[in-house]
């Protein structure tokens, strides 16, 4: 596919979705002209995608799929403005990201990495970490005083269905599924307006993947815009589906309930072995 075609296609898609969603009203989050140019090993550059457009509103759960190496993680890190190889203009409530400090932008547009990195001696410390940062010092004044107490964190985790996670444990002793949920809880407790979840259910068993999906759906109910990168079969929680392939971002129709059920049955048989393989390949993006 040539570059001209890529641009034409993305423009067409974006007009289609814009008319689809409440007649051109201002979106919660918009991204325009997103381009990723990666250095190639041994010199030279590769354009992963160019001129992509995207938007998402509060309460939505948008699934982002596509083959490995198509740049899904790159796109999400570009949204959070963490990626050094990407450019583009991003806005929240119509306010350009350049009018935010990097810290304020990332507080609002939170990227959740695929691998959970939990920092601290205990699970409770790991969850408290965002609240020790300078950007939230002012915010803490408005929060209840005991927000960082173990009891409060315990209650919040319980509400999120994480009864099995002991706050006093060292993060490295958690299972993969538990670590993924703690990492998700840490970000969710900061109440971002846009949550960019990078394949947080990769390598998890069916039960844990389901719990993670429930947490994200709950966040969307409370008004967060959720974007999920997924390799698994559809789980019926998405409100929109996008495919990133060959440098183009396209909206695809949601699977019907029957298709979801069929896909999930297949997934149980398949297992998630190939998900993990895809995941490691994706990290190189």
């Amino acid at each position: 596919m040539t570059e001209g075609e890529v641009v034409a296609q993305t423009t067409k898609t974006s007009t289609a979705t814009a008319t689809g969603a409440s007649g051109g009203a201002r979106h919660l989050f918009t991204a325009r002209d997103v381009t990723a140019v990666m250095p190639r090993r041994g010199g030279g550059e590769t354009t992963v995608f160019q001129g992509l457009e995207f938007h998402v509103d509060g309460g939505e759960v948008v699934d982002l799929t596509g083959p490995s190496g198509s740049g899904k993680s790159t796109l999400l890190t570009a949204f959070a403005r963490l990626n050094v190889y990407t450019t583009g203009s991003f806005a929240l409530d119509g306010k350009d990201s350049d009018t935010f400090t990097p810290q304020q932008w990332r507080v609002n547009v939170a990227y959740l990495p695929q691998t959970s990195t939990l920092i601290g001696e205990t699970v409770a410390d790991a969850i408290r970490l965002p609240w020790t940062l300078k950007v939230r010092q002012g915010e803490r004044a408005h929060e209840p005083k005991d927000m960082l107490s173990d009891a409060h964190i315990r209650a919040t985790l319980d509400r999120m269905g994480c009864r099995d996670i002991d706050l006093g444990r060292a993060p490295r002793d958690l299972s993969g599924g538990q670590a993924a949920r703690v990492s998700l809880a840490r970000t969710l407790l900061t109440k971002p307006r846009v949550l960019l979840a990078d394949e947080v259910d990769a390598g998890l068993d069916e039960e844990n993947a389901d719990k993670v999906a429930d947490l994200l759906k709950l966040a969307a109910h409370e008004g967060t815009a959720v974007v999920r990168i997924r390799h698994r079969a559809p789980d019926g929680r998405a409100t929109r589906m996008m495919v990133l392939k060959d440098g183009a971002l396209r909206e695809v129709p949601l699977p019907t309930a029957a298709q979801v059920a069929a896909a999930q049955r297949a997934d149980v048989v398949d297992g998630s072995a190939d998900d993990t393989a895809d995941g490691t390949a994706d990290e190189k993006e």
Partner: protein, 299 residues
């Protein structure tokens, strides 16, 4: 109790013979260190004697500009050694290393020489130059260790730094664990030295004064002042440098990006540095010197 036992030429010969015997034994055992042992011994003999003659000359002249010139040379050498040892550090740090060495050296001279010892004249070479040497020797290894550790840690903490940034951390907050680990590592040798001196070792300076016939108690006082000052100033130098370089691991909009490690500092860079410090000098001399050095390196 002024008694001093000089070493004559036969003393030097005996020391060299000792090394030759050791080298012969290690050559028989095929350890492969014989050649480097002899080479290092020859270097050390030449370098120490040269330093001795230079110092003798400078002390006899007792000229303030000679003292300052010698200190400047020692500083440049210290920068070169720091950059050479700091593996994994990106290029473009020469200015910052020089700055932190100059600042700590001036602090050292101001506090230890002018406030505590108060020599007359104030630039007394027999005090000022050994002081500078002891400080630089210590700071250079601490800085090299600290710099390597900082960049290594920032590379290792790839996932952690990105996670922290994604949660809204500033550059400072995201780099802080690496800074702490770097400063701690750089300072460990100084602390160990402070704690072990007098029990395990008689530090070089104190031994020297005792051998030179000074009272061991006044030698101890001297040694303590120097060790304490060196430890404190090493921390200062390390902190200055880390505070100035941590931003190098980030680019615009506080995005994480650790620069490539630099290739080893070559003689050419030193000439470049020399030229930027003394812009009035003729470039031909420097160029000729660089060509000569390169020729020597190729052989």
């Amino acid at each position: 109790m002024e008694s001093y036992f000089d070493i004559d030429i036969w003393g030097l010969v005996a020391a060299v013979v000792m090394v030759l015997v050791a080298a012969a034994i290690s050559a028989l055992m095929k350890t492969g260190v014989a050649k480097s042992l002899i080479w290092a011994t020859a270097r050390s003999l030449v370098q120490l004697l040269a330093m001795g003659f230079i110092l003798e000359y400078v002390i006899r002249q007792n000229n303030v500009w000679l003292v300052i010139g010698l200190i400047a040379l020692m500083l440049l050498a210290a920068v070169q050694i720091t950059m050479g040892r700091a593996t994994g550090a990106p290029k473009g740090l020469v200015g910052i290393v020089l700055l932190s060495l100059v600042v700590t050296m001036l602090l050292m001279l101001a506090i230890v020489a002018e406030l505590i010892v108060r020599p007359k004249p104030w630039y007394a070479p027999q005090l000022v130059i050994p002081l500078t040497g002891m400080l630089l020797g210590n700071t250079v290894s601490a800085l090299a260790l600290g710099l390597s550790r900082f960049f290594e840690s920032m590379r290792e903490r790839y996932a952690e730094v990105n996670t922290m940034l994604a949660l809204g951390a500033t550059k400072w907050e995201a780099a802080k664990p690496s800074m702490i680990s770097s400063i701690r590592l750089g300072l460990l040798p100084s602390i160990a030295m402070l704690a072990s001196s007098g029990i395990v070792t008689i530090p070089g300076m104190m031994s020297g004064q005792i051998i030179a016939g000074k009272s061991p108690v006044s030698a101890a006082k001297y040694q303590f002042v120097i060790l304490a000052a060196v430890a404190a100033l090493t921390l200062v130098a390390d902190s200055i440098i880390i505070a100035l370089i941590y931003k190098r691991c980030f680019i615009s909009y506080d995005r994480y990006f650790v620069p490539e490690p630099a290739k080893k500092l070559s003689f050419k860079d030193l000439v470049q540095l020399h030229k930027s410090v003394h812009p009035g000098e003729k470039p031909e001399d420097a160029k000729r010197a660089a060509a000569k050095e390169q020729h020597a390196q190729m052989r």
